[in-house]
């Protein structure tokens, strides 16, 4: 069943019409990717879902519950958790503290400890650096931490905004490996990426966004073969 459904979303920045009727859905356990060029509205879509931006029209539903009237922090508590673009870990807190902060909305200490174990299993490196200040981690480790922090909230849907941005190629591979692992564990993910090639490799389905509109949607494998997608986003001539 669909966990998350967007219907005809219109979002504005002041007078600028950034999203022009975006509709999409995410099924349980699936990775859906949103690809598109600069300024197409990928991050705007994620920010609208997570409540950082208010849509002017349209509806967002999580398990058939309308999210429009909830504030950003309430949406997190409902299980839609975003990993913001550019990582943005709490640089002056330790790795462990960052992870604890991720579980801010959860009341039960025993469950939090369990999630912490899961995150450390997924990212053994974070366990090694538990007591270190997050600001002193490398870029790749910070991305792991940002993802771990989001997982601590036990998300029903994980929104990943450009996880590979600014990382060395080796690290990009390792981040996408992690996304695959999360997929295997059954996590539902909406992934926004500039690196369309990698995104379409891990995703089940994809949406192509152009100037605030969805122009194409299909199975990821089909999109990879699609000629216009290849030309525009995969660099195939």
């Amino acid at each position: 069943m669909s966990i998350l459904v967007l219907e005809n979303i219109h979002t504005y920045y002041g007078e600028i019409h950034a999203l022009r009727g975006v509709s999409l859905s995410v099924e349980e356990g699936e990775i859906v990717t949103l690809i598109g060029g600069n300024g197409a509205g990928k991050s705007t879509t994620l920010n609208t879902i997570s409540g950082l931006l208010q849509p002017r029209r349209g509806s967002i539903r999580l398990y058939n519950e309308d999210l429009s009237n909830f504030k950003a922090h309430e949406i997190v508590a409902k299980g839609v958790v975003q990993v913001p673009e550019g990582r943005r870990v709490f640089g002056r807190l330790t790795v462990a503290e960052n992870l604890e902060m991720g579980a801010f909305t959860r009341p039960l200490r025993s469950e939090i400890a369990q999630s912490l174990e899961q995150v450390f299993t997924l990212f053994p490196r974070l366990k090694e650096r538990e007591g270190q200040l997050a600001g002193t981690l490398s870029g790749g480790e910070q991305q792991m931490l940002a993802m771990g922090r989001a997982l601590m909230a036990k998300p029903k849907v994980l929104l990943l905004d450009e996880p590979s941005m600014g990382l060395a190629p080796v690290l990009v591979d390792s981040i996408f490996d992690t996304i695959r692992k999360l997929h295997a564990l059954g996590t539902t993910i909406l992934l926004v990426e500039q690196n369309a090639r990698m995104a379409l490799q891990v995703a089940d389905r994809g949406y192509v966004l152009q100037t605030g509109e969805i122009i194409l949607t299909d199975k990821a494998a089909a999109l990879r073969e699609n000629e216009s997608v290849q030309k525009a986003y995969l660099g195939v001539l």
Binding site: S50, L52, K71, A72, H73, E74, V76, A77, V81, Q82, P84, G86, R87, R88, V89, F90, G91, R92, L93, T94, E100, M101, G102, F104, T105, R125, Q132, L133, A134, G135, T136, L137, S138, G139, G140, E141, Q142, R149, A150, A153, G166, L167, A168, V170, L171
Partner: protein, 560 residues
């Protein structure tokens, strides 16, 4: 290695010019002369001379340390040369000042200044003496670097102890003569306005003795693998500290109690602003507004003069604090979406608005306008009226302890975590499920409550309040004491208040140069100790970590 002489020369020149420039500046603004009236060791060193000596010592020490990897002769040369440079700049000042009249521009360039700088000699031998003094100080500073770390720290402690005791000689003399058994010591330790020579030697001996003992204990602890303090030890330490705080004003007399009261009021405000700025990261430049509201509400409710109400201090207190909390929320609402500089400007305006409202004629029936409010009630406990410094000290102490306790519990609470996350990154804080509106408003109201409490006590202490007691300078002072002590650190607030409020009160001559010293102190702090004098543990980690990437959004190219 051919460049080595040039390096030595360049280094000495650089530090010498910085130190000399500072010494000349301090002379020209009048600090050296004013402090020349205070003696550290009677008939030997005055505070003014000590100032010059400190400039020489510090710059030579810095120069020599920079060359510590080259060779010991380079260090000595640099030390001496730096000292001589400082001396030469001062000598040039003496030459300039005694040959032409520069007093039209520099009011403080007075004959006593030059007499002091030339050690009471006529200019030419005086100038030579300055050079010799520079050389000696410089060599001594460089020589310090050859000592073992333990010995070096002992030497520095001795200098500091003699300096501080000498500086506060007047005050200490009065205090000690009140203690029956040790009173006879006074005549022996002090002479004139400073220490006597045997007194200085005795203090040096005591400091050395204590240092040796401390070192021995530390070595022993090392051997036993430095056990962490047990719960019992901690409790005993807290108990001892409490006992000390309770008897302190009794031992030190009225004047010091007055100073402690002021420090205490600033500690209260500091704890409040610490919640807003230190914990939650909301830069508030109008903090004095809450202090003023607390004081004014207390005045309005208790002063029979205005005829509004004449409650007792205690029954007015919850109202005063409550109104301040409300004001904190009211300020919070319009600035919810503001950050950084914008927030600072708006809060700055808030502080001024409160002061102007208090001053305004329209509100005269309630606030007394420029005449302020008199006859404010004193707190009464049982049958005791808290009407002097000593009794109020205990009230202020109780307030500080309460605020300190609340602060520390809040810091470790869920709310404290939310504040910390918000301070680090507002957007992400929201993205991990923190309610920004509630979190911000709570920060403002808790901060306001402490400020209001401080204001209410302040009003009772003076018995009268006037609008111009609530100027911008108070906000600046409170913020500066947070920076000096360590942003976000509760114990840092106390250290900061002692340094910024206590010291200037004890060194009355300072008052005139307060802002100059603040400025210099803040710049030095930012350069050499940005985490503050006594920071929280996490901040220490940050300052000594191998990379500072506080934004967390830069990327390291090398995969780790």
């Amino acid at each position: 290695m051919k460049t080595q002489p040039a390096t030595v020369f360049q280094t000495s020149m650089r530090f010498g010019l910085i130190g000399g420039g500072a010494a000349v500046l301090f002379s020209l603004v009048g600090m050296v002369e004013v402090f020349g009236q205070r003696t550290i060791i009677g008939g030997v060193v005055s505070m003014g001379q000590a100032f010059v000596a400190i400039a020489m010592l510090l710059s030579a020490y810095a120069a020599a340390r920079q060359l510590s990897s080259v060779s010991s002769s380079a260090m000595l040369t640099a030390g001496g040369l730096t000292g001589v440079t400082v001396g030469a700049l001062l000598a040039a000042l003496v030459l300039l000042g005694t040959s032409i009249n520069i007093r039209d521009v520099f009011v403080s360039a007075s004959p006593p200044l030059f007499e002091l700088l030339s050690f009471g000699q006529s200019p030419v031998p005086g100038m030579l003496l300055l050079l010799v003094a520079g050389m000696t100080m410089g060599l001594a500073a460089a020589a310090l670097l050859f000592l073992s770390p333990a010995m070096r720290s002992t030497a520095i402690s001795v200098l500091l102890a003699v300096g501080v005791v000498g500086l506060l000689a007047d005050l200490l003399r009065i205090i000690i003569s009140q203690w029956a058994y040790v009173a006879p010591l006074v005549e022996w330790v002090f002479s004139g306005k400073g220490l006597s020579v045997p007194g200085a030697l005795a203090i040096a001996a005591v400091v050395i003795g204590l240092d040796v003992l401390a070192n021995r204990r530390r070595n022993k602890a090392h051997n036993l693998a430095a056990l962490p303090a047990t719960a019992l030890q901690k409790r005993m330490r807290t108990g001892a500290l409490m006992a000390l705080l309770l008897v302190l004003p009794l031992l030190l007399g009225t004047y010091v109690s007055e100073v402690l009261d002021q420090v205490g009021l600033y500690v209260l405000m500091g704890l409040g602003l610490n919640v807003v700025v230190g914990f939650a990261g909301l830069l508030d430049l109008g903090y004095v507004g809450f202090f003023a509201i607390g004081a004014y509400v207390m005045g309005m409710l208790t002063s029979p003069e205005l005829g509004l109400a004449s409650l007792s201090w205690w029954s007015a207190l919850p109202i005063a604090v409550g109104v301040t909390v409300l004001a904190g929320m009211l300020l919070g609402v319009p600035v919810l979406n503001m950050r950084g500089d914008y927030l600072a400007i708006v809060t700055l305006g808030f502080g001024e608005i409160i002061r102007l409202l208090a001053l305004s004629d329209a509100l005269r029936p309630w606030t007394g306008g420029s005449q302020g409010i008199q006859l404010i009630a004193k707190p009464v406990v049982g049958t005791v009226v808290l009407d002097d410094q000593l009794k109020l000290y205990y009230l202020i102490l109780a307030g500080c302890l309460l605020a300190g306790f609340i602060s520390s519990r809040l810091r470790d609470s869920r709310l404290g975590r939310a504040w910390m996350a918000m301070r680090e990154d507002e957007d992400v804080a929201q993205a991990i499920g923190i309610n920004l509106v509630a979190t911000k408003l709570l920060a403002f109201s808790v901060g306001a409550a402490f400020g209001g409490l401080s204001g209410a006590i302040f009003a009772a202490k003076l018995g009268a309040i006037y609008p111009n007691s609530f100027g911008l300078l108070i906000s600046i002072n409170v913020l500066a004491l947070l920076i000096i002590g360590g942003m976000g650190s509760i114990r840092g607030v106390i250290v900061g208040a002692l340094v910024l409020v206590g010291l200037p009160e004890l060194l009355r001559e300072f008052a005139e140069f307060r802002l100059l010293v603040y400025g210099a102190l803040l710049v030095m702090m930012m350069l050499y100790r940005p985490q503050g004098l006594w920071p929280e543990e996490a901040r220490k980690l940050e300052a000594h970590g191998d990379g500072d990437n506080s934004n967390g959004d830069q990327t390291a190219a090398i995969p780790a």
